[in-house]
């Protein structure tokens, strides 16, 4: 399991000595025991395929040139080492397969493993690039000792995930990480024992930049024991305050607060059918069950879902994914099921369905709107009842007709008729009101129908024609406005009626061609 000396830790930036880490006055939690899990070949292992048999390496760019970050065992046997330049590595091992480093994939894998580690402890810390810290003292008794915890984690890591790893336990996080990185699976229980336990670690494992490392080498410092022997005051001056603080954190003299990992919540449940279902109708009861489980999950964590995906699995073809956007913050199964049914009406499945999965990742905190506490009792007649069922009706309409076809109306304060109303997408807030400010009512009569674009009218035989000659009976109302935003309108509006009885709202432009237009109907 251990091969301590072959891998030298390579730090581009020293992760443990970052100026952002706060060093507060000496205080350390005497009770905590940190189990560090170090994954030396993480960047290789997250790549697809089996890289233990092939000579492969992960390269990283520094200063415009490529260097080896991590190697597989066959490559190591050939002599490729970490930190080597790519050209040298290729000379030693001509059939070396290289991959660029993928930090985001590494982070994702670490977070997944942290999720798993949460089974063993309530405090898990993700150390970027390649390590996890698990607080083990709190779970020691429950799992029957730290060795048992280590064994369970080892089973998971080597079985399901096929990672190689090193463990170590110590009272401070920094010391655990350091020990794990050297590959010694040490268990240190008391803070006082740290100095002696860490004494034998070569200084190459310490997070230092190249200059300082060379400086140490020149001074004759080889292992940490030599560092302990150096006078403390001079340490900061020689190797930097940051290094001195780091050592204090390692020994537990300074506290080392780190960010605890919180897993992101998502919901995923599956149902398998014992036979292939051809008709989607027969799959909907299972979908109803999944939706009710989703609602329980949402209630438990006080969330509401914005979007979920229903996946239908087929035997030979890829899964059919149906995405459903949920606009209302309802957590009732019936509302969600009605939405789903509306959505499924337009879905055609290419092959018989053998399983269903409901996956909801897009969740947010539940913003309260007063729901009836006793859902079985008939709700008292109040406005909230209408608003929630209006919400679900609008949700169904949106799904079938499209988001843009639903608009709300609001009067605006503008003299120009076409700008005096706002047809916008429906904004309904939690209270069920479409938000718009109150605008005072205009005195002059306005037509109930407005044309989207004014229609030019012809003048013939001295009369305005809209399918038949129009007779005026009211007017003119002069509207001049809009000189400030380039949409200058200067019009005289009249009311007219044509032979067929339509009441027209006609205007004439005051400038330019003095053309007549029809703008609306007094319906």
């Amino acid at each position: 399991m251990t091969d301590p000396t072959s891998s030298l830790p390579l730090f581009e930036t020293s992760p443990d000595i970052s100026p952002a880490t706060v060093s507060s006055p000496p205080r350390n939690d005497p009770e905590a025991l940190w189990l560090a899990v170090y994954l030396p070949r993480l960047c290789l292992e997250i790549l697809q395929g089996d890289h233990q048999q092939v000579a492969a390496a992960v390269i990283v760019q520094r200063g415009g040139r490529d260097f080896i970050h991590s190697t597989s065992l066959p490559a190591e046997k050939k002599g490729v080492l970490q930190g080597m330049a790519l050209s040298a590595a290729c000379a030693l091992c001509p059939d070396l397969i290289t991959h660029p480093i993928d930090k985001s994939a590494q982070q994702k894998r670490l977070e997944k493993l942290a999720d798993i580690a949460l089974r063993f402890s309530s405090q898990v810390i993700v150390c970027p690039a390649d390590a996890l810290l698990i607080e083990a003292r709190g779970s020691e008794r429950y799992f029957g000792g730290i060795a048992a915890i280590q064994k369970s984690i080892a089973e998971i890591l080597s079985g399901e995930w096929r990672h190689s790893f090193y463990f170590s336990v110590s009272p401070t996080p920094a010391a655990s990480l350091l020990l794990a990185r050297t590959g010694s699976s040490a268990t240190v229980r008391k803070v006082e024992d740290l100095r002696s336990a860490l004494g034998g670690i070569p200084v190459a494992y310490l997070p230092l930049d190249k200059k300082r490392r060379q400086q140490m080498k020149n001074t004759g410092v080889r292992v940490l024991r030599d560092v302990w022997r150096l006078p403390a005051e001079g340490l900061a001056k020689r190797f930097g305050q940051a290094f001195s603080d780091y050592l204090k954190r390692v020994l537990g003299e300074f506290s080392d607060p780190r960010e605890i990992f919180k897993s992101t919540l998502f919901f995923s449940r599956r149902r398998e059918f014992s036979y292939a279902v051809e008709n989607l109708q027969f799959a909907t009861p299972s979908a109803h069950e999944l939706l009710s489980e989703l609602c329980d999950f949402l209630r438990e964590y006080d969330l509401c879902v914005n979007q979920y995906e229903l996946r239908f699995f087929h035997e030979r073809t890829n899964a059919t994914r149906v995405r459903v956007d949920v606009r209302s913050s309802s957590r009732r199964v019936d509302d969600l099921f009605m939405l789903l049914q509306t959505r499924l009406e337009t879905v055609a499945i290419p092959a018989p369905v053998i399983g269903l999965e409901l996956y909801a990742e897009n969740v947010s905190h539940y913003s309260t709107c007063s729901e009836n506490l006793f859902e079985d009792l008939p709700a008292p007649v109040d406005t909230n009842r209408f608003d929630s069922s209006m919400d679900s009706l609008l949700g169904q309409l949106r799904l079938r007709l499209g988001e843009e076809t639903l608009v709300g109306l609001a009067p605006l304060h503008d003299h120009r008729p076409e700008s005096a109303q706002n047809r916008s997408a429906l904004l309904i807030d939690d209270m069920g009101n479409a938000g718009c400010a109150q605008v005072p009512t205009i005195d002059n009569a306005r037509p109930l129908w407005l044309l989207d674009a004014p229609q030019p009218l012809q003048v013939a035989n001295g009369a305005i024609w809209y399918r038949s000659p129009a007779t005026f009976f009211s007017g003119p109302e002069r509207i001049e406005s809009g000189w400030w935003d380039g949409d200058d309108t200067r019009r005289d509006y009249y009311r007219a009626v044509d032979k067929r009885g339509c009441r027209l709202w006609i205007y004439r432009e005051l400038g330019g061609a003095r053309q007549w237009y029809l703008h609306g109907f007094f319906g």
């Binding site: 079938r400 009067p411 009569a445 129908w449 067929r500 339509c502 009441r503 109907f521």
Partner: protein, 207 residues
């Protein structure tokens, strides 16, 4: 008359009792126009039914006829759903007519006939909307019957605007409109509770 028979006649307003027009006990909302109230059996717009309004043209005053009903519904905080109207309803005018535009939802023109009919049916089935206004093209009688049943089931009134009357349409109230000076001529083509086809001229405030 036998007591049971009398009770039967009282309980079922749909039973025609001859020329004597009985007081209709269906729930109604006042139309806002006195002559119109007198015209309709029940004294107002009947609830829970599908209303067909047949008008030769848009813009002769058909919306003005409904304006008091719309205003009353928005005062009761019920929603108005307009499905694919031929032109855009104008918010300042609605405001002048007493309609609270906060409760207006408009489905823009351009959706398919099937989608429009589906929306009408869905809206009629829920309790959410107070009034659904639609301008469908051709609707067959079986579909009209379905919409009428949906309207009867929920608490929503449905109004369909048509250009032509279909024979034997199953809707419970059918009105024919004709333009008139200073108002509009309304003829009751069909109403529950009466066989008479009466008409009256409704006066609007202005032309």
């Amino acid at each position: 008359m036998d007591r049971q028979l009398r009770q039967l006649l009282i309980d079922n307003p749909q039973l025609w009792q001859g020329r004597v027009a009985r007081k209709n006990t269906t729930r109604c909302i006042p139309t806002g126009y006195a002559e119109f109230d007198a015209l309709l059996p029940g004294g107002g717009w009947p609830q829970d039914i599908l209303i067909e309004i047949v008008t030769p043209d848009w813009g002769i005053g058909e919306l003005q006829l409904l304006a008091p009903l719309m205003g009353e519904l928005t005062r009761r905080q019920r929603w108005l759903l307009w499905i694919a109207p031929p032109y855009s309803p104008y918010a300042p005018a609605l405001q002048q007519a007493g309609v609270d535009t906060n409760f207006v939802v408009l489905v823009k023109k351009g959706i398919s006939e099937r989608d429009a009919l589906w929306s009408i049916e869905k809206a009629l089935q829920t309790d959410a909307c107070g009034l659904v206004l639609a301008w469908p093209g051709f609707v067959s009688n079986p579909l009209l019957r379905r919409l009428q049943l949906s309207a009867a089931g929920g608490e929503t009134q449905g109004v369909l605007f048509r250009h032509r009357e279909t024979k034997n349409s199953p809707s419970a109230l059918r009105l024919g409109l004709a333009p008139a000076v200073g108002g509009i001529d309304v003829k009751v083509l069909k109403a529950r509770g009466t066989f008479q086809q009466r008409s009256a001229k409704i006066h609007f405030g202005s032309y």
